[in-house]
């Protein structure tokens, strides 16, 4: 199997389907836990009462004050005012009615990023060495010759392979409007007027 094939096989071995499944399951579990927490908050808010005083009334009536001399025989009559302050009886509202709502969250975007670095190296080295020597000597009666030779052959193969990988899972969580079916509707029937006026709000 060639090196290219090995690298390709390694890339194919990255468990993408498993990673995506695991991430989707984690998001699903996380979303459920967040929704449950928001519903629990909704219950707490629905059971928490708040004293709301809808109206404060100030009635201003004239209160004449004695004239004040400003010199030169002239007088000025200050305008006095009486302030009667009354407040309407407190109305018990739940925190939801008053205007505090639970925050719901939603996973909006998820990214799986896998980085792989694969390197492979093959080194092949051969050395060939040949040597020969010839020695000839001669004297008065004899002659001699020696011949020697050597052959050296050296070969080496080195093979190195390394693969490094890292993965990043990133998900974005954003606040979202509460699901319509989970939030109560407020229905106000105003029987002060005829026919009564019905107002629905969320």
């Amino acid at each position: 199997m060639g090196l290219g094939a090995t690298v390709g096989a390694d890339l194919l071995a990255v468990p993408f389907p498993k990673m995506i499944l695991s991430m989707a399951q984690a998001i699903s579990k996380g979303q459920m836990a967040l929704d449950m927490a928001s519903l629990q908050t909704l219950k707490v808010l629905a059971n928490t009462k708040f004293d709301f005083i809808p109206e404060f009334t100030e009635v201003l009536t004239p209160k004449p004050l004695p004239p004040v001399s400003i010199g030169g025989g002239q007088t000025v009559t200050p305008t006095g005012v009486n302030v009667d302050f009354t407040k309407s009886p407190a109305v018990k509202l739940t925190m939801i009615q008053a205007g505090i709502l639970p925050t719901f969250y939603q996973f909006t975007e998820s990214i799986i990023e896998v980085k792989m670095s694969i390197s492979s190296k093959v080194e092949s080295q051969s050395e060939f060495e040949f040597g020969a020597s010839l020695e000839v000597s001669a004297d008065f009666l004899f002659g001699s010759a020696t011949f020697s030779s050597h052959v050296n052959y050296k070969t080496s193969n080195t093979y190195s392979y390394s693969a490094e990988g890292s993965s990043l899972l990133r998900t974005t969580l954003k606040p979202t409007p509460p699901p319509g079916r989970m939030m109560p509707k407020f229905i106000t029937v105003n029987a002060l007027v005829q026919p009564p006026v019905i107002t629905t709000s969320e």
């Binding site: 629990q40 908050t41 808010l45 059971n47 928490t48 205007g99 709502l101 925050t103 969250y105």
Partner: protein, 101 residues
């Protein structure tokens, strides 16, 4: 640093002492008390500190909330929040940490 509003519900019955204890802890964590309710305080906290407060022994439940401007008493609640915040900011300058009433 993201700051959010959280509704805190105390464990068991709320007493003045438990409410004050939680409020002090929230202030210690850098949070602000927006309002005190019969269930527990409504606070503004950073995301980092929210988990710390949620793990406090007196905290039964803590959930993120927001103000609906169309609520019947939204304006009134905003006034209460502003009043309580102004008290805490003045106290912060003095270096003292009294909980909101």
């Amino acid at each position: 640093m993201n700051v959010q509003m959280y509704m805190i519900s105390v464990k068991g019955t709320l007493t003045e002492d438990t409410s004050r204890e939680i409020q002090r802890f929230v202030r210690k964590c850098g949070g602000l008390i927006l309002m005190s309710t019969q269930t527990g305080p409504l606070v503004a906290l950073s995301d980092e500190q929210a988990a710390v407060v949620a793990n406090h022994s007196l905290v039964g439940f803590m959930g993120p909330v927001h103000l609906n401007p169309r609520g019947l008493a939204a304006g009134h609640l905003q006034q209460i929040f502003a009043e309580n915040l102004s008290k805490q900011l003045i106290i912060e300058d003095r270096g003292d940490g009294e909980p909101a009433s």
